[in-house]
């Protein structure tokens, strides 16, 4: 488990990370969202042992990570602007990482490179942005670490490749309990891949929750009521977080257990009624509103 406790980091007096406490459990895909400047990259760089926290502690499997090769052996960091060795090819990169990460799986790396159709002996500097990201991800996956920190890594990957990466992650999670930590400013990029999401804002964590847990606690209903009296009767018993109306069609975001909500609305016999899945964005809107923030201003 990666654990950050009351972590503070300043750059030239500017507070980049402000008393952040977060736990990243093993075997999940952890999404870290936040606007530019929210502190995602700084937090990841601290978890990777690149930066030293000014205050607080960061541990990987209970060992402090900074200047601790034993702890760092379990972490692989892909920065938002990854570096590739001068004139290096994918094979050179594998050689270099192979010298550093004892568990680097060269065979699997070569297989995956082949699977994704990436040339092994061409200079990486000639690759497209997406190809470079794929190389980074494969290097990270094959390094054999427990944790893979990806900073804006999915930015620039096409949908097909995202699916491919997702399946690679899924396999690694299943087979050896890999824990990818994905930081992004774009919630939509994380939506279909994360199990747990932490929201960073102005250097602090606004919320950190399990996605499934969030999904089961909040729902979207579209319905058309016969009259206002019926509507009032239905709404009275529900914890409505958000209400939207187009003509007679009302869209409600409601907190609570799905079955209970459905039976309560159905019992009122509205003209039309349907339960819809919530997007991650909608879940966040409601969650941050509870915390007193306007999520649209935070992230969209």
């Amino acid at each position: 488990m990666i654990k950050a406790e009351n972590v503070v980091k300043r750059f030239d007096g500017l507070l980049a990370v402000d008393r952040v406490s977060v736990e990243i459990k093993e075997g999940i895909v952890f999404g870290m969202v936040g606007t530019n400047g929210a502190g995602k990259s700084t937090l990841l760089r601290m978890i990777a042992g690149v930066l030293k926290a000014d205050e607080g502690t960061i541990t990987v499997d209970e060992a402090p990570v900074f200047e601790n090769p034993v702890a760092k052996k379990e972490v692989f960091y892909i920065s938002d602007d990854a570096y590739y060795l001068n004139n290096g090819t994918p094979v050179d990169m594998a050689d270099y990482y192979g010298a550093v990460y004892e568990k680097f799986n060269r065979k699997r790396y070569l297989e995956l490179m082949d699977q994704l159709g990436l040339p092994l002996s061409r200079k990486i500097s000639t690759f497209s942005k997406g190809m470079k990201k794929q190389v980074s991800i494969l290097l990270g996956v094959c390094a054999g670490t427990k944790y893979l920190l990806c900073d804006e890594t999915f930015d620039g990957l096409d949908p097909v490749m995202r699916q491919a990466v997702k399946s690679i992650f899924a396999k690694e999670i299943t087979e050896r309990g890999l824990t990818p930590v994905l930081a992004s400013h774009n919630l939509r990029e994380l939506e279909d891949i994360c199990d747990h999401v932490g929201l960073l804002h102005k250097g602090g964590v606004l919320l950190s929750k399990d996605l499934e847990e969030m999904r089961t606690g909040i729902h979207k209903i579209q319905c058309v009521f016969a009259d206002e009296e019926q509507e009032a009767r239905v709404l009275m018993g529900l914890d409505v977080v958000n209400k939207d109306q187009r003509g007679r069609l009302k869209t409600l975001t409601v907190r609570g257990v799905q079955e209970e909500i459905a039976s309560r609305v159905a019992a009122a016999e509205p003209v039309f009624f349907e339960m819809l899945p919530l997007t991650l964005e909608e879940i966040f809107i409601s969650e941050t509103e509870v915390a007193g923030y306007d999520f649209k201003k935070l992230i969209l």
Partner: protein, 735 residues
């Protein structure tokens, strides 16, 4: 922990990344030197065996410690290897890459540091190997080659390590390549440049500043551990240093070890977010900025002073220059630190404080607030004193036999007057004379003076040098010093130190009366023994108030074998002539010369073949009006305000009327042969004046030239004589 195998893997991978530096090093080392050696060999066939040692030495020269090529390669190589190894610290993405690896910073440092050394050392050794093979297989190998190569390797490798490590330290200080070069300049230059500027102020404003003290080199040596290039520069050229090259190299080794430890420490604590910034450690910013501002202020203050304020008036331009220097350097540095020209005035108060400090400094130096010129150590704190008076005995040669060879020495280095009680009153008079002299000068008046250099050797081991302007010799105060054996043994160091057995011949002379003869060893020893005794007994009174009666030249030949710095013998025969004035009190010496046929007088028998002429005296005048009608300017249009001819005006007129075909100058009067003897009776041989009246100006006298024909040649030997300007020479125009 990094295992040994992964350490070597990292070494290998790092080296792969720096392949270009490896190739470059191989080219600059392995190609030029062996090619040069091969060309030298092919171009110089047919040497005799005796010349082979020197030839082998010449072949090894490109690998010697003094090889300019290796010095250049070492300095540039150190800079390149430091940047290629640690330049990743300038890039955020490279820092993220390398610092996220499960490798300790120490290991990363070691990998890169060692590779930087190997990139230099391996091609260097390859160059040595190839060169030695070429020299050996062409039959030119001598043992001296190995000595030269080993010394060269020690000097250059240590020099490389010192510069390379310093450059790495500079890399860790900054986050940008351009700022790196600026900080390198600061680290390498701040100490010597500060000392140079301070030295400049001393020279300019302290009247008693002595160049003989060489305070710059002395300070630089004291601060050598703050000047990373010191050891390398001085181990390449150790001439003039008090320490040996081996001692310098040992100090350099200690310097490298400590510097490497400091660099590793700084590298470890360097924040990773320093990449891209001007300076990675905020604490360094004020240190760099303030030191540069103070230095730039002082430097520009001095430059403006030199350009526009050479008088001793109010130093307005100097103050202006100081302020300008501080402001401009502040603007430049702040713009660089912030990468923003708009921030050039950030920290105005600090800039103001620097300007105030700089102005205070330049004014303190200008007005000698701390009394540099009045410096006189307490009597009890002086261990010994050395004196050197310019103008006194100015024709003395300060040669000394060291025990193995004869060398030029400096009285200030050699002399140790330990009777401070006797010397102190003279030193006090020097300080007072000096102050009076410069007071007159500052008031626009001229003053006569002679320079006296003094070296105070203090109890604390320091030596302080001063140059005073003395008002004459001060016979009463200087006599006990001159008459002491400590003074004489250094002042006449050649006579006292050169072994008597080296004396080969002597020449005794008084004008045209000359005796030259070879001396046997016994004669040489007798002469030296007499001379030493009589020199020791001579009083200052005689020296200052009487003229010598003859001049004695002794030729000494030193055949002691010499060895070069590599221990190889050098064939040498050193011939040296020492010259001494002989005074009337040197009775034993005069007896010695008389026994061999020389009498100390200028008596001469005229043959009628000689020629004689007189040159008129000149006097420097302060008020030309005073001399109108009495004397004649020899070049009225140009020099009337400086010199006029003095002496008998009728003599001058007679000269002016002289036939035009006379090819001497218009102030020269040819003498009729019938006047020779009468004129010669008034003459004193000018050489005796040189010794007996130090500082005399021959142009204030009648100068008489006697030209004596040389046997078998249509040439004349000229002898110069002096007659006082007030002498009656009317007989020259009586006819």
């Amino acid at each position: 922990m990094t295992s040994r195998s992964s350490f070597f893997k990292l070494l290998k991978e790092d080296l792969r990344q720096r392949l270009w530096t490896v190739v470059l090093a191989a080219i600059v080392f392995i190609l030029p030197v062996p090619i040069y050696i091969a060309m030298e060999i092919s171009g110089s066939r047919g040497f005799s065996t005796g010349m082979l040692d020197n030839f082998a030495r010449r072949l090894a020269e490109p690998m010697a410690y003094s090889s300019i090529w290796l010095v250049l390669v070492t300095i540039v190589g150190a800079l390149i290897c430091a940047v290629s190894g640690f330049g990743y610290l300038f890039s955020k993405k490279k820092v993220d890459f390398f610092h996220s690896l499960p490798v300790k910073r120490e290991t990363l440092f070691a990998v890169r540091y060692i590779n930087g050394v190997l990139i230099y050392l391996v091609p260097y050794l390859a160059m040595v190997l190839v060169s030695i093979l070429i020299i050996t297989f062409t039959g030119n190998m001598k043992a001296v080659v190995f000595t030269i190569v080993a010394k060269g390797l020690a000097v250059h490798l240590l020099g490389y390590l010192a510069i390379y490590t310093t450059c790495i330290l500079c890399v860790t200080f900054v986050g940008n390549i351009v700022v790196f070069f600026a900080v390198c300049g600061w680290v390498f230059g701040i100490t010597p440049v500060t000392l140079l500027v301070f030295n400049w102020f001393e020279e300019r404003f302290f009247n008693t500043y002595s160049y003989l003290g060489d305070s710059f080199n002395e300070w630089l040596y004291s601060l050598r551990f703050l000047f990373p290039g010191y050891f390398y520069i001085y181990s390449v050229d150790a001439s003039g240093l008090a320490v040996t090259r081996a001692s310098l190299l040992l100090q350099e080794l200690a310097f490298v070890v400590v510097l490497t430890a400091i660099t590793l420490l700084v590298y470890r604590v360097r924040p990773s977010d320093g990449a891209g910034k001007a300076i990675a450690f905020p604490v360094l910013k004020p240190v760099i900025r303030i030191s540069v501002e103070l230095l730039a202020g002082a430097l520009m203050g001095m430059m403006f002073s030199e350009m526009a304020d050479r008088s001793y008036g109010v130093p307005g331009w100097m103050v202006f220059g100081a302020i300008l220097g501080v402001v401009l350097s502040h603007m430049l540095i702040q713009s660089i630190f912030h990468f923003d020209i708009r921030k050039c005035f950030a920290g105005k108060w600090s800039m103001g404080a620097c300007a105030v400090v700089t102005i205070a400094f330049v004014l303190v130096m200008r007005y000698d607030t701390f009394g540099y010129d009045k410096y006189l150590p307490k009597e009890r704190k002086i261990e010994s004193v050395a004196l050197e008076m310019t103008g006194f005995d100015r024709y003395r040669n300060n040669y000394k036999y060291t025990g193995s060879y004869i060398e030029w020495t400096n009285e200030l280095d050699e002399m140790e007057l330990t009777n401070i009680k006797e010397v102190y009153p003279y030193l006090e008079s020097l300080v007072a004379d000096n102050e009076a002299y410069w007071e007159l000068r500052e008031n626009g008046q001229t003053a006569e003076s002679m320079r006296v250099n003094v070296a105070y050797r203090l109890e604390n081991g320091k030596t302080v040098y001063r140059e005073y302007r003395a008002n004459g010799i001060r016979e009463d105060l200087f006599a006990p010093i001159f008459e002491s054996q400590e003074y004489k043994e250094v002042h006449y160091s050649d006579v006292y130190s050169i072994p008597a057995s080296f004396v080969n011949s002597m020449t005794a002379a008084h004008a045209m009366n000359v005796l030259h003869m070879n001396l046997s060893t016994a004669e040489g020893e007798e002469l030296m023994s007499i001379l030493r005794r009589e020199l020791s007994a001579q009083t200052l009174k005689e020296k200052l108030n009487t003229l010598p009666v003859a001049v004695l030249n002794m030729t000494v030949i030193d055949r002691t074998p010499l060895y070069d710095s590599d221990g190889m013998p050098i064939e040498s025969t050193y011939e040296y002539t020492t010259e001494l004035p002989i005074y009337a009190s040197f009775t034993e010496t005069l007896r010695f010369m008389k026994e061999r046929g020389f009498t100390a007088s200028g008596a001469y028998e005229w043959t009628g073949e000689e020629r004689m002429r007189v040159e008129l005296p000149e006097i420097a005048i302060k008020d030309p009006e005073q001399y109108v009608g009495e004397v004649y300017s020899y070049d009225a249009s140009v020099e009337l305000t400086e010199y006029v001819l003095a002496g008998d005006s009728k003599l001058i007129e007679s000269q002016i009327a002289y036939p035009e075909d006379w090819d001497y100058g218009y102030n020269v009067i040819p003498v009729d042969p019938e006047d020779f003897e009468r004129l010669y009776a008034l003459c004193t041989w000018e050489d005796l004046y040189h010794y007996g009246k130090p500082g005399f100006d021959r142009y204030e006298y009648y100068r008489v030239y006697v030209e004596v024909p040389q046997d078998g040649y249509n040439m004349y030997e000229t002898y110069r004589f002096i007659i006082p300007a007030d002498a009656d020479l009317s007989f020259l125009y009586a006819n």
